[in-house]
Amino acid sequence: MRRALGTNALSLVFLAFFAVALAGQALAGWQDFNNEASAHDEEGVSLGRYLVSSSFGNAVLENWQSEYLQFTLYILLTVWLVQRGSPESKPPGEEGTESDAEQRVGRHARADSPAWARARGLRLWVYSNSLVLVMATIWLASWLVQSVTGWTAYNDDQVTHGEPTVGWGGYLGSARFWESTLQNWQSEFLAVGSMVVFSVYLRQRGSPESKPVGAPHSSTGVEG
Protein backbone atom coordinates (compact mmCIF):
# COMPACT_ATOMS: atom_id res chain seq x y z
CA MET A 1 0.00 0.00 0.00
CA ARG A 2 2.73 2.41 1.05
CA ARG A 3 4.80 1.45 -1.96
CA ALA A 4 1.78 1.96 -4.24
CA LEU A 5 1.31 5.48 -2.84
CA GLY A 6 4.97 6.27 -3.37
CA THR A 7 5.23 4.96 -6.91
CA ASN A 8 2.06 6.85 -7.93
CA ALA A 9 2.74 9.98 -5.88
CA LEU A 10 2.67 12.44 -8.79
CA SER A 11 -0.76 11.45 -10.08
CA LEU A 12 -2.23 11.02 -6.57
CA VAL A 13 -1.03 14.44 -5.40
CA PHE A 14 -2.55 16.10 -8.48
CA LEU A 15 -5.80 14.21 -7.89
CA ALA A 16 -5.85 15.49 -4.30
CA PHE A 17 -5.09 19.08 -5.45
CA PHE A 18 -7.94 18.75 -7.95
CA ALA A 19 -10.40 17.59 -5.27
CA VAL A 20 -9.45 20.38 -2.85
CA ALA A 21 -9.54 23.09 -5.53
CA LEU A 22 -12.88 21.83 -6.86
CA ALA A 23 -14.34 21.84 -3.34
CA GLY A 24 -13.05 25.39 -2.83
CA GLN A 25 -14.48 26.48 -6.18
CA ALA A 26 -17.83 24.93 -5.22
CA LEU A 27 -17.99 26.79 -1.90
CA ALA A 28 -16.89 30.13 -3.34
CA GLY A 29 -19.13 29.72 -6.40
CA TRP A 30 -22.12 28.86 -4.21
CA GLN A 31 -21.56 31.99 -2.11
CA ASP A 32 -21.19 34.16 -5.21
CA PHE A 33 -24.29 32.61 -6.78
CA ASN A 34 -26.35 33.37 -3.67
CA ASN A 35 -24.94 36.90 -3.40
CA GLU A 36 -26.08 37.51 -6.98
CA ALA A 37 -29.49 36.02 -6.19
CA SER A 38 -30.03 38.27 -3.18
CA ALA A 39 -28.93 41.29 -5.24
CA HIS A 40 -31.81 40.43 -7.59
CA ASP A 41 -34.22 39.85 -4.67
CA GLU A 42 -34.29 36.12 -5.40
CA GLU A 43 -34.02 33.17 -3.05
CA GLY A 44 -30.63 31.54 -2.62
CA VAL A 45 -30.02 27.82 -3.27
CA SER A 46 -28.59 25.05 -1.10
CA LEU A 47 -25.03 23.86 -1.70
CA GLY A 48 -26.39 20.53 -2.95
CA ARG A 49 -28.58 22.31 -5.50
CA TYR A 50 -25.69 24.53 -6.60
CA LEU A 51 -23.45 21.49 -7.18
CA VAL A 52 -25.93 20.12 -9.72
CA SER A 53 -26.54 23.48 -11.39
CA SER A 54 -25.55 24.40 -14.94
CA SER A 55 -23.84 27.46 -13.50
CA PHE A 56 -21.34 25.35 -11.52
CA GLY A 57 -20.98 22.79 -14.31
CA ASN A 58 -20.23 25.57 -16.78
CA ALA A 59 -17.56 27.09 -14.55
CA VAL A 60 -15.89 23.68 -14.16
CA LEU A 61 -16.11 22.60 -17.78
CA GLU A 62 -14.93 25.82 -19.41
CA ASN A 63 -11.60 25.33 -17.65
CA TRP A 64 -11.42 21.61 -18.40
CA GLN A 65 -11.84 22.12 -22.13
CA SER A 66 -9.03 24.64 -22.40
CA GLU A 67 -6.61 22.45 -20.44
CA TYR A 68 -7.32 19.45 -22.64
CA LEU A 69 -7.04 21.58 -25.78
CA GLN A 70 -3.65 22.76 -24.53
CA PHE A 71 -2.32 19.24 -24.02
CA THR A 72 -3.87 17.94 -27.26
CA LEU A 73 -2.16 20.67 -29.26
CA TYR A 74 1.08 20.32 -27.36
CA ILE A 75 1.30 16.56 -27.92
CA LEU A 76 0.36 16.95 -31.59
CA LEU A 77 2.44 20.01 -32.53
CA THR A 78 5.62 18.68 -30.90
CA VAL A 79 5.51 15.82 -33.43
CA TRP A 80 6.22 18.25 -36.29
CA LEU A 81 7.40 21.55 -34.78
CA VAL A 82 10.65 22.08 -32.88
CA GLN A 83 12.16 24.78 -30.68
CA ARG A 84 15.93 24.73 -30.62
CA GLY A 85 17.22 24.59 -27.04
CA SER A 86 13.98 23.41 -25.44
CA PRO A 87 13.85 20.15 -23.45
CA GLU A 88 10.19 19.96 -24.49
CA SER A 89 11.15 19.71 -28.17
CA LYS A 90 12.78 17.08 -30.34
CA PRO A 91 16.09 18.15 -31.90
CA PRO A 92 15.71 19.95 -35.27
CA GLY A 93 15.85 17.40 -38.08
CA GLU A 94 13.78 14.80 -36.23
CA GLU A 95 10.39 16.29 -37.04
CA GLY A 96 7.66 13.82 -37.95
CA THR A 97 6.24 10.54 -36.74
CA GLU A 98 9.61 8.69 -36.97
CA SER A 99 10.39 5.22 -38.29
CA ASP A 100 8.82 1.95 -37.10
CA ALA A 101 12.22 0.93 -35.68
CA GLU A 102 12.53 4.15 -33.64
CA GLN A 103 8.98 3.75 -32.41
CA ARG A 104 9.37 0.00 -31.72
CA VAL A 105 6.20 -0.99 -33.57
CA GLY A 106 5.19 -3.90 -35.80
CA ARG A 107 8.14 -6.25 -36.27
CA HIS A 108 10.35 -3.85 -34.31
CA ALA A 109 8.27 -4.34 -31.14
CA ARG A 110 10.20 -5.83 -28.24
CA ALA A 111 9.25 -8.50 -25.74
CA ASP A 112 8.08 -5.91 -23.22
CA SER A 113 6.22 -3.71 -25.76
CA PRO A 114 2.43 -3.32 -25.31
CA ALA A 115 0.50 -5.93 -27.33
CA TRP A 116 -1.05 -3.28 -29.58
CA ALA A 117 2.42 -2.02 -30.59
CA ARG A 118 2.84 -5.42 -32.27
CA ALA A 119 -0.49 -5.13 -34.09
CA ARG A 120 -0.94 -3.97 -37.71
CA GLY A 121 -3.37 -1.69 -39.51
CA LEU A 122 -6.12 0.13 -37.66
CA ARG A 123 -5.26 -1.27 -34.22
CA LEU A 124 -1.67 -0.06 -34.50
CA TRP A 125 -2.81 3.35 -35.80
CA VAL A 126 -5.25 3.74 -32.90
CA TYR A 127 -2.67 2.77 -30.30
CA SER A 128 0.00 4.91 -31.97
CA ASN A 129 -2.27 7.95 -31.57
CA SER A 130 -4.17 6.92 -28.44
CA LEU A 131 -2.87 9.72 -26.21
CA VAL A 132 -3.99 12.46 -28.58
CA LEU A 133 -7.24 10.64 -29.39
CA VAL A 134 -8.21 10.48 -25.70
CA MET A 135 -7.08 14.02 -24.87
CA ALA A 136 -8.86 15.43 -27.95
CA THR A 137 -12.02 13.49 -27.11
CA ILE A 138 -12.02 14.91 -23.57
CA TRP A 139 -11.37 18.41 -24.98
CA LEU A 140 -14.26 18.22 -27.48
CA ALA A 141 -16.62 16.56 -24.99
CA SER A 142 -15.91 19.13 -22.28
CA TRP A 143 -16.25 21.99 -24.79
CA LEU A 144 -19.60 20.53 -25.86
CA VAL A 145 -20.76 20.20 -22.24
CA GLN A 146 -19.48 23.74 -21.54
CA SER A 147 -21.70 24.94 -24.37
CA VAL A 148 -24.76 23.05 -23.09
CA THR A 149 -24.41 24.16 -19.44
CA GLY A 150 -23.50 27.69 -20.56
CA TRP A 151 -26.58 27.77 -22.78
CA THR A 152 -28.82 26.79 -19.85
CA ALA A 153 -27.21 29.33 -17.51
CA TYR A 154 -27.43 32.00 -20.24
CA ASN A 155 -31.15 31.37 -20.76
CA ASP A 156 -31.73 31.51 -16.98
CA ASP A 157 -30.15 34.98 -17.04
CA GLN A 158 -32.26 35.97 -20.04
CA VAL A 159 -35.45 34.92 -18.21
CA THR A 160 -34.36 36.78 -15.05
CA HIS A 161 -33.86 39.94 -17.11
CA GLY A 162 -37.15 39.49 -19.00
CA GLU A 163 -35.37 38.91 -22.30
CA PRO A 164 -36.00 36.19 -24.92
CA THR A 165 -34.20 32.85 -24.57
CA VAL A 166 -31.98 31.53 -27.39
CA GLY A 167 -31.49 28.12 -29.01
CA TRP A 168 -28.22 26.17 -28.60
CA GLY A 169 -27.02 27.37 -32.01
CA GLY A 170 -27.78 30.93 -31.02
CA TYR A 171 -25.76 30.52 -27.83
CA LEU A 172 -22.81 29.11 -29.84
CA GLY A 173 -22.77 32.38 -31.76
CA SER A 174 -23.05 34.53 -28.64
CA ALA A 175 -20.37 36.79 -27.26
CA ARG A 176 -20.78 35.09 -23.84
CA PHE A 177 -19.79 31.65 -25.20
CA TRP A 178 -16.75 32.91 -27.09
CA GLU A 179 -15.58 35.18 -24.30
CA SER A 180 -15.65 32.30 -21.81
CA THR A 181 -13.92 30.00 -24.31
CA LEU A 182 -11.19 32.35 -25.51
CA GLN A 183 -10.33 33.79 -22.11
CA ASN A 184 -9.23 30.27 -21.18
CA TRP A 185 -7.47 29.51 -24.46
CA GLN A 186 -5.32 32.63 -24.44
CA SER A 187 -3.86 31.84 -21.02
CA GLU A 188 -3.09 28.24 -21.99
CA PHE A 189 -1.31 29.23 -25.19
CA LEU A 190 0.78 31.86 -23.41
CA ALA A 191 1.70 29.45 -20.59
CA VAL A 192 2.73 26.64 -22.96
CA GLY A 193 4.66 28.96 -25.27
CA SER A 194 6.50 30.53 -22.36
CA MET A 195 7.32 27.10 -20.91
CA VAL A 196 8.87 26.08 -24.24
CA VAL A 197 10.93 29.28 -24.48
CA PHE A 198 11.86 29.73 -20.80
CA SER A 199 13.15 26.16 -20.59
CA VAL A 200 15.80 27.04 -23.18
CA TYR A 201 17.61 29.37 -20.75
CA LEU A 202 16.20 28.56 -17.30
CA ARG A 203 16.61 25.38 -15.23
CA GLN A 204 14.99 23.49 -12.38
CA ARG A 205 17.47 21.11 -10.89
CA GLY A 206 16.01 17.61 -10.65
CA SER A 207 12.94 18.20 -12.82
CA PRO A 208 12.44 16.11 -15.97
CA GLU A 209 10.69 19.19 -17.42
CA SER A 210 14.04 21.00 -17.36
CA LYS A 211 17.41 20.36 -18.91
CA PRO A 212 20.21 19.46 -16.50
CA VAL A 213 21.50 22.66 -14.88
CA GLY A 214 24.81 22.41 -16.72
CA ALA A 215 23.34 21.60 -20.15
CA PRO A 216 24.12 24.24 -22.80
CA HIS A 217 21.30 26.56 -23.93
CA SER A 218 21.54 25.17 -27.46
CA SER A 219 20.98 21.51 -26.51
CA THR A 220 17.50 20.42 -27.54
CA GLY A 221 15.34 17.58 -26.27
CA VAL A 222 17.56 16.74 -23.33
CA GLU A 223 15.70 16.20 -20.06
CA GLY A 224 17.47 16.28 -16.71
Binding site: N8, S54, L61
Partner: protein, 36 residues
Protein backbone atom coordinates in the same frame (compact mmCIF):
# COMPACT_ATOMS: atom_id res chain seq x y z
CA UNK B 1 4.08 -6.43 -3.55
CA UNK B 2 6.21 -6.46 -6.66
CA UNK B 3 5.92 -5.79 -10.38
CA UNK B 4 2.36 -7.18 -10.33
CA UNK B 5 1.35 -4.83 -7.52
CA UNK B 6 2.95 -1.89 -9.34
CA UNK B 7 1.04 -2.75 -12.52
CA UNK B 8 -2.20 -2.96 -10.55
CA UNK B 9 -1.74 0.38 -8.78
CA UNK B 10 -0.78 2.10 -12.07
CA UNK B 11 -3.97 0.76 -13.62
CA UNK B 12 -6.01 1.94 -10.61
CA UNK B 13 -4.83 5.57 -10.93
CA UNK B 14 -5.36 5.46 -14.71
CA UNK B 15 -8.92 4.21 -14.35
CA UNK B 16 -9.62 6.60 -11.45
CA UNK B 17 -8.71 9.62 -13.59
CA UNK B 18 -10.83 8.35 -16.48
CA UNK B 19 -13.79 7.79 -14.15
CA UNK B 20 -13.50 11.26 -12.58
CA UNK B 21 -13.44 12.89 -16.03
CA UNK B 22 -16.23 10.74 -17.46
CA UNK B 23 -18.41 11.36 -14.39
CA UNK B 24 -18.00 15.13 -14.69
CA UNK B 25 -18.77 15.10 -18.41
CA UNK B 26 -21.82 12.84 -18.19
CA UNK B 27 -23.23 14.49 -15.06
CA UNK B 28 -23.08 18.05 -16.39
CA UNK B 29 -24.19 17.06 -19.89
CA UNK B 30 -27.28 15.51 -18.30
CA UNK B 31 -27.84 18.53 -16.03
CA UNK B 32 -27.41 21.01 -18.89
CA UNK B 33 -29.80 19.09 -21.13
CA UNK B 34 -32.37 18.38 -18.39
CA UNK B 35 -33.53 22.01 -18.51
CA UNK B 36 -34.54 21.83 -22.15
Amino acid sequence: VGAGGDQRSMRVVFVTYLLVIATGLVLYAAIGLAHH
